[in-house]
C-alpha cells in the first residue's frame, strides 16, 4: 500500500486556491456522462450528492434509513465553527487552522486543516442562503458563542439543534435535486460491499432491507459518507444504527484504515443509569460556557449538591486549567472527570458522574437568559433523568461520541482505492488525535459542499468516454454471492444469543481497555479476549426470522460482526502507538501531572492499516506528518 497524500506544492495559504485552478475539470456537457454513487445522507453525503447533482453528474444516493433526513448528523447540538470574525475578537482563517491543528494534538495533515478553515466561511453563507435559522442578535445579525479549545467566539448555532437545522438544510437541497431527477434516492438500502475491477472502484453491492435482495450498482466513482464507528463501544452517543460496515467492507477490499484508536470521549453526557441501557445521551458542550463543573472534595459526601458549602467543592477544571477552565478541550476534560470519579468523588446514585452546575449562571444572568440558551437541553435532561437542572446540578460523565480515525484519504479525499472517495466522519483527515467542539459539522459540510465536488473531477476526467464494467461483470456477481452467503450464514448458526448480547460484551472490552485510559497490558488482554468472543459469536449467535423480508436482527448481526474485526484493529493501533496524544491516552506515557505525553520524534505520523486477510494481523503503513507552518508544542490549557 502506498500512502501518497498528494498535497499540492506551494504556500499553505494559497495551496487550495492554486490547486482548484490547476485541477482538471469536467465540461458541463460531459458531467451527465458520469454516474457517481454516494453512500450515506448525513451532512457530508447529502451535501455532496446535492452539489454534484446541481453540477450535472448523475448521482445515486443510498441510505439505510427510511428518509435521508434521519442521518445522525441531525443529533449534533452545539454548533458549527467558522472563521467569520463577526464578533471582532481576533479570529481568522489562520487562527481556526492553528486551533484545529493544536486541538488535534499535532496529528492532523496541515494542508487539509487549512483548507477546512478556509471554506468554513463559505459554509455559513451557504447555509444561511438555504434558510437555516441560526441564532441572531436583536439587531438581526448572526450570534456566536465560544466552544472548548478556543478563545474566540466563532461558533454559529441554532438553539441546541444546530445539527438538525444544518442537516435539514442539506436534506432540502438534496430533495430539490431528487425532485428534479438529478439524484436518484435509494432508501432502506444498505451497502454491504465495494467492488474493484482492474485496480479501481467499480461500484458497490447493496442489500435491500425490506426484501433482503442483494444486487450491484456500477458507477464511475463511489463516495462513502457513512459516519463514524463510535458504536464499537456499544454504549455511545451515536444512534442505534450507526455502524462501521461500509468503511470496514471497503477496508477489507483494500482501503487503508487510519488511526482507528483515535476516538473521542465526550465529557458531557448523562451517566449510565443501569446495565440495560441502550445508548448514552450527550448534553451539548455549549453547556460548559455557563455551567461550572465540580465534585465534592469529600468522597463520602452525602448531602444534596446545593447543601455542599463552596469551600468543600472542587471545581477541578477551573483549578487545574485556570485559563480555559470549564472550557478545556474534550479529551482533557474527559480524563479529568475520570480521575475525579476514580478517586471516589463521583456523584449520583452510582457515583459515576460529576456535577455541571448552573446555579452561578442563573444568579448572574437570570433564569430567563439561561433558560433561553439551554431550554431544550434542560428539558431533554429532565425527560431522561427526572431531575430539573434549574433546581439541582446536572450529572455528567464522558462517553464515546466521535471517531477521528477512519478511512485514509489523500488531499483530494480519495482512499487508497482509486475511484473510492470518503467524506465526513468516515474519513480520518482533519481532526488529528482529537476533534474540537463544533468542528464535525464544519468538516462534514466542507467535504461535501466545497471539497469533494471539485476533487472528484480530475479522477472522472480520465474516464471520459471510456466504457466502465457493468453489473454483469464477474467481480460483481461474485461479491453478490459472497454477501448472500454471509447473511444466510448468520441465520444458519442457530445458537442461543441475539446480536445485542455479543455487542454489549464486545463494547465492554473495548471500553475497559481501549477507552479513556489505555495500557499495554490491557490492550494485549483485549486482543486476546476479542477474538475469543468473536469465535463464540460465530458459534452461538441466534438470528430468528428469514433473510427474505425485513429482519432487524439480521441487520444487526452483520454490523456486530464487523465491529469485532474493527475492535481488534482499534486495540492494535492503540498498542503500537507508544505515546499519548489527544483522545489516545497511554498510561505509560504521561507527565508527572498526569497530562498526555506526545512523542513527536517517533510518532508524528498517520498509521494506515492494510487488510491482510487475518483481522488479528493487519499490515502497518505510515504517512509522515510534516509541519511547515505550525511548530510542535506541548498543548497547554493552563
Amino acid at each position: 500500500m502506498t500512502l501518497d497524500p498528494r498535497v499540492p506544492a506551494g504556500d499553505l495559504a494559497t495551496k487550495w486556491t492554486d490547486h482548484k485552478f490547476n485541477m482538471r475539470l469536467v465540461n458541463p456537457n460531459n458531467k451527465r456522462k458520469f454516474e457517481v454513487i454516494v453512500v450515506g445522507s448525513g451532512l457530508a453525503g447529502a451535501s455532496a450528492a446535492a452539489t454534484m447533482g446541481e453540477l450535472g453528474y448523475k448521482v445515486k444516493l443510498f441510505t439505510f434509513h427510511d428518509s435521508p433526513r434521519r442521518a445522525h448528523s441531525i443529533a449534533a447540538q452545539g454548533g458549527i465553527n467558522a472563521a467569520k470574525n463577526y464578533q471582532g475578537d481576533g479570529d481568522s482563517v489562520h487562527r481556526l487552522f492553528y486551533d484545529t491543528v493544536k486541538g488535534g494534538d499535532f496529528r492532523a495533515r496541515e494542508a487539509n486543516v487549512h483548507r477546512l478553515a478556509e471554506v468554513s466561511v463559505n459554509i455559513i453563507d451557504q447555509m444561511v442562503a438555504q434558510g437555516v435559522p441560526f441564532a441572531r442578535e436583536y439587531g438581526g445579525l448572526l450570534d456566536n458563542r465560544s466552544f472548548g479549545g478556543a478563545q474566540v467566539s466563532r461558533t454559529f448555532y441554532a438553539r441546541g439543534q444546530t445539527g438538525q437545522q444544518l442537516l435539514l438544510g442539506a436534506y432540502q437541497q438534496l430533495s430539490r435535486q431528487i425532485g428534479l431527477g438529478n439524484v436518484k434516492l435509494w432508501n432502506r438500502i444498505e451497502m454491504v460491499d465495494v467492488v474493484n475491477i482492474d485496480g479501481r472502484c467499480a461500484g458497490i453491492v447493496t442489500r435491500d432491507l425490506m426484501t433482503g435482495e442483494v444486487r450491484s450498482h456500477a458507477a464511475h466513482a463511489v463516495v462513502l459518507a457513512t459516519g463514524g464507528y463510535g458504536n464499537a463501544f456499544y454504549l455511545s452517543t451515536n444512534a442505534m444504527a450507526c455502524n462501521v460496515t461500509a468503511a470496514w467492507r471497503a477496508h477489507r477490499r483494500g482501503a487503508g484504515f487510519a488511526n482507528p484508536s483515535y476516538t473521542q470521549i465526550h465529557p458531557t453526557c448523562i451517566p449510565q443509569a443501569d446495565e440495560f441501557q441502550s445508548k448514552l445521551t450527550l448534553m451539548s458542550e455549549s453547556l460548559r460556557n455557563d455551567g461550572r463543573i465540580w465534585v465534592p472534595k469529600d468522597p463520602d459526601e452525602t448531602r444534596p449538591a446545593k447543601d455542599v458549602p463552596e469551600d468543600e467543592r472542587d471545581y477541578y477544571l477551573e483549578r487545574i486549567y485556570p485559563s480555559f477552565g470549564n472550557r478545556a478541550p474534550r479529551d482533557v476534560s474527559s480524563r479529568a472527570a475520570k480521575r475525579a470519579v476514580d478517586a471516589g468523588q463521583g456523584v449520583g446514585p452510582l457515583k459515576n458522574g460529576v456535577y455541571l452546575d448552573f446555579a452561578d449562571a442563573i444568579e448572574r444572568l437570570g433564569l430567563d437568559t439561561v433558560w433561553e440558551r439551554y431550554s431544550n437541553l434542560f428539558e431533554m435532561y429532565e425527560r431522561i433523568t427526572g431531575e430539573d437542572p434549574r433546581e439541582m446540578p446536572m450529572r455528567i460523565y464522558p462517553a464515546s461520541h466521535y471517531t477521528m480515525g477512519g478511512l485514509w484519504v489523500d488531499y483530494e479525499l480519495q482512499t487508497t482505492i482509486p475511484g473510492l472517495f470518503c467524506a465526513g466522519e468516515a474519513n480520518f483527515s482533519d481532526h488529528g488525535a482529537n476533534r474540537l467542539g463544533a468542528s464535525a459539522l464544519m468538516q462534514g459540510l466542507s467535504d461535501g459542499y466545497f471539497v469533494l465536488p471539485y476533487t472528484i473531477a480530475p479522477y472522472l476526467s480520465d474516464l471520459l468516454n471510456k466504457p466502465i464494467p457493468d453489473e454483469s461483470h464477474d467481480a460483481f456477481t461474485a461479491a453478490e454471492q459472497e454477501a448472500r452467503d454471509r447473511y444466510q450464514g448468520y441465520i444458519d448458526i442457530g445458537g442461543t444469543k441475539g446480536p445485542d448480547h455479543f455487542h454489549r460484551k464486545l463494547g465492554q472490552i473495548i471500553w475497559d481497555y481501549c477507552g479513556m485510559d489505555r495500557t499495554q497490558v490491557g490492550l494485549e488482554k483485549a486482543l486476546a479476549e476479542i477474538p475469543a468472543l468473536h469465535a463464540e459469536f460465530k458459534k452461538d449467535l441466534r438470528v430468528t426470522g428469514d433473510g427474505h423480508s425485513l429482519n432487524q436482527t439480521l441487520e444487526k448481526a452483520a454490523r456486530v460482526d464487523d465491529f469485532f474485526e474493527l475492535g481488534m484493529l482499534m486495540c492494535k493501533d492503540a498498542l503500537v502507538r507508544e505515546e499519548s496524544c489527544g483522545g489516545h491516552f497511554r498510561s505509560e506515557h504521561q507527565t508527572d501531572e498526569g497530562e498526555a505525553l506526545r512523542n513527536d520524534d517517533d510518532f508524528a505520523h498517520v498509521t494506515a492499516w492494510e487488510w491482510s486477510g487475518d483481522p488479528s494481523n493487519p499490515i502497518e503503513n505510515r504517512e509522515p506528518l510534516e509541519y511547515e507552518v505550525v511548530k510542535f508544542a506541548t498543548r497547554s490549557y493552563k
Binding site: G140, Q165, Y171, A239, A241, I384, G498, D500, T544
Partner: protein
C-alpha cells in the same frame, strides 16, 4: 432513585407485511426499572423473544434522543404516548405504573402503509419536501451570511417551525389522516424568512398540492399539535392556508398575462 415496576402487560400489534393479517400479541414484562426508556423495555423483550426462537418485534427507532424522528408508536391510542412534547424514544417507564396494560400499535394512517409489525412507510413526507420544501440556493453562489439582517422574532418563529422532526405523529393523531401540520411547519419556516420570499407562493402551492395527493383534509381538530413531540403550533396551518389562497390568486394573475 430508581424503582422497579412489576407485572406490565403489553398488547403489541404484529403484522408480517403490508398485505398480512394483523393481530395483537400479548407479552408479560415481570420486572422493569423505571429508569428504562420505553424502547429499552422493547429491546429487553426482543432479546428474550430471540432467545426463545421467536422473531423480534419490528419497530422504527434510531437516535433515541428525540431528534431524528424515526421512532413512532401509538401507545394506548396516543401518538408517542402520554407524555406531552416527548417522542417515544424519550418516554421513560417512570410514566407508567406497576400492573399497567399497555397497547402498542403502529401509526394509523392510509398514507403510511404498514411495512411490518410497528413499522410504517412515511415516504410521502419526502415527496412533499421534494415538491418545494427548500430554498433554491445552489452551492457556491451565496452572499455573505450577515448581508441580510433578520429580526430576531422572525428568526425565532422560523426556528419554532423548523424544529419539526418529520415523525408523522401529526398524521397518526389526526382523525382525517391529514399532514397539514408537517407541511405547514416547513412552509412557515421558509415563508417567514427573507431568503424564502422568491419562491414563497410557488413553494406553498406545490407542497400543498403534493400533500393532497397522499393525505386527508384538515378540519382543524388540533390533535396534530397536541401530539407533536416538538409542540409545533397549529397557527402554522393558518399561515399555510393564507399563503395558499394568495398563491392561487397570484398564479391566476400570471396566467392572464400570457
Amino acid at each position: 432513585m430508581s424503582h422497579t415496576l412489576t407485572n406490565i402487560t403489553l398488547k403489541v400489534w404484529r403484522q408480517n407485511g403490508p398485505e398480512g393479517q394483523g393481530r395483537f400479541e400479548t407479552h408479560q414484562i415481570p420486572e422493569i426499572s423505571d429508569e428504562a426508556s420505553f424502547l429499552e423495555m422493547l429491546d429487553i423483550l426482543n432479546e428474550r423473544l430471540i432467545e426463545e426462537g421467536q422473531e423480534a418485534i419490528v419497530f422504527d427507532h434510531d437516535c433515541r434522543e428525540g431528534i431524528c424522528g424515526t421512532c413512532s408508536l401509538m401507545i394506548d391510542g396516543q401518538a408517542h404516548g402520554p407524555q406531552k412534547g416527548t417522542a417515544t424514544c424519550q418516554l421513560h417507564m417512570r410514566t407508567f405504573d406497576s400492573g399497567a396494560e399497555i397497547v402498542i400499535e403502529p401509526w394509523r394512517a392510509t398514507a403510511f402503509p404498514i411495512i411490518k409489525d410497528l413499522m410504517v412507510d412515511r415516504a410521502p413526507f419526502d415527496r412533499i419536501v421534494e415538491a418545494g420544501g427548500f430554498i433554491t440556493a445552489p452551492t457556491g453562489g451565496a452572499p455573505d451570511a450577515n448581508l441580510i439582517p433578520i429580526p430576531k422574532p422572525v428568526s425565532d418563529a422560523a426556528m419554532d417551525n423548523a424544529a419539526c422532526i418529520g415523525c408523522g405523529a401529526c398524521v397518526a393523531a389526526c382523525p382525517n389522516g391529514a399532514a397539514s401540520l408537517f407541511t405547514s411547519a416547513k412552509i412557515t419556516h421558509l415563508n417567514l424568512l427573507p431568503q424564502g420570499q422568491s419562491e414563497r407562493f410557488k413553494r406553498t402551492e406545490a407542497m400543498v398540492e403534493t400533500m393532497e395527493e397522499y393525505f386527508g383534509s384538515c378540519t382543524n381538530h388540533g390533535e396534530c399539535s397536541s401530539a407533536c413531540p416538538k409542540e409545533i403550533s397549529i397557527d402554522s396551518i393558518a399561515v399555510m392556508n393564507t399563503d395558499y389562497r394568495k398563491s392561487k390568486l397570484k398564479n391566476r394573475k400570471s396566467l392572464s398575462r400570457k
